[in-house]
Amino acid sequence: MTGALAGTGADKALRPPATVMRLARMGAFFPTRLSFLRTLIRRLHDESVIVRRPVWRIDDRGYGTAVYSLDLGGQTYSLVAVSSELAPEARSDRVIAEAWDTSYALFDGVPDEEDIARLAATVPRQEAARYTARELVLSRANRSVRLFDHVVDALSRGVQPDRGLIAATGYLMRTTAVYGNGKFGIADRSRIAGRPGLGGPFQAEMLTVWLIRGFTLDLVEHVARVRGGARAVPLAPACRRFLGIGNSTGLGMAPFLVNHPMLLNNWMTARETALARVCAVERPRAAEIDGFLTGLDRARAHVRDWIVDDDRQMARIDVLGIELDAVARWLDAAWLARPFPWARLMAEAEQLSLEGQETLVALILEPYGHLIDDLADTMASDGGPRLDATVTVGALALDLEAAFAWVRPIDFTHPLECQRFWYVSEEKSEPRLGERHLEAGAEREMPLDIARRVQALDRDLATADPQERLAGFLMRHPEHRFAASRVQTAARHPYAEIRDNLIGGGCVPVDMLRCKLSFFGAGRFDPKSDRWTRIVLFQGAPGLDEVATADPDGWAFPTLAAYSAGTGGEEDSPKQGPEDGTCGSP
C-alpha cells in the first residue's frame, strides 16, 4: 500500500454488477448505516420514543410473561415476551427444535388480558400454533447458558460480569427465528407496509429484536435481584450497551436472496448509490475526516476482538487486521484533505482483500448520513412486474446477453457444477442442502438453479425465430417461463441476480447468509459451518431507556473498550434500577 495518489475520478458510476454481485464479495459485506436496524434506531430516536413496560409477571426463577409497549409513527406496538423453563437437552437452535427458553410476539396495539393469556399459551408453541393479524412478528430465543448464568451470578454478588466473557459472547440470548409476513397466520406485510416507521424492509422484525434485547437485559437483572437481594446490582450502562442479541442463522435465509430479486436489487442499488455519492465528495469537512479516522480505529479494535472457530473465516479476519493496520499507517488527515479522497481510497482498496475493501466501504459511508440516509426509503419492493411476453424472442435474447452472459461457460454436465441441491425437509420444513450424487430428493429441489435454467433457455432461444413473439415461444416451452422472467428482471435491474452457480460444489452458502445479515445490520459474523452462522444484532446500540436521548449513530464496529465497567467494586456498579413499570429515566 503506497498511499500514492490513485486518481481523482469524480464520476458517480456505481460499481458494476459483475464486481458486486459475486458471492465471495457479498460474503464479505459489513453492516453500514443503511442497514435496517440502523434505520430503525434513527427513527426511534427522531421520534423520541419512550418504551413502557406495563406488564412484568416474571417469577423468582425468571419464568412468566412481560409486555413492553411503545408508540412509533402514530401507532402503538407491544412486545409480548414469555419466558419458560427449558431442559438443557431440549435446547437447540435448529428449526426442528420444539421448545425454547423464551418466545415472543410483536402485537399491533396494546394487548388486553385476553390477548396476553392467549399469547402466553400459543407463543411458546411457535410454528405449532396459529395466530391472528394482530400479531405482526413471531420469534423465540435461547439463552447463552454460559454467559447468562455468569451474569446472574456476578450481579447477584454485587459485581459486574467478567469482561472477557462478555466480549467473547456479546449477547445474553440468541434468536433462532424471527417470522414476519403472514407466517402461521400472523399479519401480512401489507398490513403495515404503509405505516410510518415500519414501511421499510424488516423494520417490524428489527423492532421486535430490539425489544427482545431489552427484555433479556431486564430478565438477567431480575433473576440477579431475586438471588442477591439488596446486594445485587444492575448491569453497568456500558455493559448493557455492549450486549446485543445473538442470532443463529441457517440455510432458510439463503433462498430469500434468490427468491426476491427485486428486493435484492433495491438493497444493493441503495448501497452502491451511497458509495458513489460519497466517492463524489471533492472536499470533505474536517468533521467527516475525523469521523472516518475514528471509525477506522474502532474497526481495527473490533477486528482484533473478532475471534471465530471457523478456519476459513479466521484466516480472512487475520488478513483484514493486517490490512487495516497497514492502511492506518499511511492514511492520515492530510491525505484525506486532498480532492476526492474517498474515490482515491476506494481505488487504493482494490489491492486489499474483499473483507478489506468492504470494511472501507462501510467506514466511508459512516460520516455521510446527510448524503445517503434518504436511500433507506428506496430499499423496499412490491415484487416487481410480471413477465412481458409481448416482446420478441430476439429482444429476450438481447436481455439474456446483457444480464446473463456469465452463465454460458458453466459446464452443467460436470458433476461439480451441479453437485448440490437446495431442498426443504419434511422434518418441520427445515431448509437443507443436499449432495445430488449421494442423496435422494433432488427431484424435489427448490428452483435456486438460476444459472442452469437460464443456460437451458439460452439454448432454445438460439434455435427460435428472433421475430417470434415470446408468448408463442413460451407456449411451446412452458418450462422456460421462470428463466425468461428472471432474464427480463435482471436486464432492467442490474443488481437482481447473484452471479454465481448456486448448485455448484464451489458455492459457499454462508456467503449468502452474511450478505443478507449485513443488510440487517448484523455484526460479529461467526460461522459454525459453511451453512450456519452466529451473529449479533444491536451490539452497541442505544437501549430501551435511552434511545430518545442517546446518539443514534456512532456505535458501528463496537469494541471491548466501550465496556468500561470493570469487574468489581461498588464504585463500578450503579445503584439498583427502578422496580416500576418504566424502563428507566427517559
Partner: protein, 211 residues
C-alpha cells in the same frame, strides 16, 4: 379457518410445484390465488380445480387463426393458462381468443386478474361464454363469478382501458378447512423425506446448543 395472504400464495405455489407444473406457472398460480381471494372468490377451490393429478407438462398446441381472432381447442389452465394470458396481452384490443374447453375457468380468470394487476398497463380483459360475461381489471371484476363449470368454453378479449390500481388486501382470508388441507397435501409433495444423514448434515448445525 383463517389463513394469511402469504400462506395462501405460497401454499398454492407449492401445490403447483408439488403437482409437477413448472415453477414459472406455479408462481403465476400463487399470484392468481391471491388476486381471487382479494376479490372475494373461492381461491383455494379455484387452485384445486386446476391442480389435479395427470397434468402433463408439454408444449401447448399452437393457437390458430379463427376469423378476426384466435382459437385454441383446450387449456389445462395450471400449465397453459399463463401462456394464454400472454397471448391475449399480445393481441390487438377487441381481437377475441376463443378457448373451446377450459378445465379451471375461475383459476384462468385469476391468472388474468393477477397479470393485469402486475403489468400496470391500464388494460382489462372481457371473459364471456357459457352464459356469463365479466370484465376483469387489475383491481377487480365487473361481477361476481359464481360457480363456473369445469370444461366450459370461454372467449377472452383484450380491452383498451381498464380500472387502475389495486384493492386494499384483506387481513387474511377464511378458507374451507378440508380444501385447505387438500391444498397443503399437494404442497407437501415438495418436501423431501428426512433421514439421520440429512438431519445431521443438511443444515450444517448441531442438535444441542448449550454453550
Amino acid at each position: 379457518m383463517r389463513v394469511s395472504l402469504n400462506e395462501l400464495q405460497t401454499t398454492a405455489r407449492k401445490a403447483g410445484l408439488g403437482t409437477g407444473i413448472p415453477v414459472g406457472a406455479a408462481d403465476e398460480i400463487g399470484h392468481a390465488v391471491l388476486w381471487l381471494a382479494g376479490n372475494g372468490e373461492d381461491a383455494v377451490g379455484a387452485a384445486l380445480a386446476g391442480l389435479h393429478d395427470g397434468l402433463q407438462v408439454a408444449p401447448a398446441p399452437a393457437l390458430k387463426r379463427h376469423g378476426a381472432g384466435w382459437r385454441l381447442a383446450s387449456v389445462a389452465v395450471a400449465i397453459g393458462g399463463p401462456g394464454v394470458v400472454d397471448w391475449v396481452f399480445s393481441t390487438q384490443p377487441g381481437e377475441p381468443v376463443a378457448l373451446s374447453e377450459v378445465d379451471a375457468p375461475t383459476l384462468l380468470i385469476g391468472l388474468i386478474g393477477q397479470a393485469l394487476a402486475r403489468s400496470d398497463a391500464g388494460r382489462a380483459v372481457t371473459v364471456f361464454g357459457a352464459g356469463m360475461s365479466v370484465t376483469v381489471a387489475a383491481d377487480g371484476l365487473s361481477a361476481s363469478l359464481g360457480v363456473l363449470t369445469p370444461g366450459i368454453g370461454l372467449t377472452l378479449r383484450l380491452e383498451r382501458a381498464g380500472r387502475g390500481g389495486l384493492v386494499a388486501p384483506p387481513d387474511g382470508v377464511e378458507v374451507d378447512r378440508d380444501a385447505w388441507r387438500e391444498l397443503a397435501v399437494l404442497a407437501a409433495r415438495t418436501l423431501v423425506p428426512a433421514d439421520a444423514a440429512s438431519r445431521a448434515r443438511g443444515a450444517g448445525a448441531g442438535d444441542i446448543d448449550n454453550e
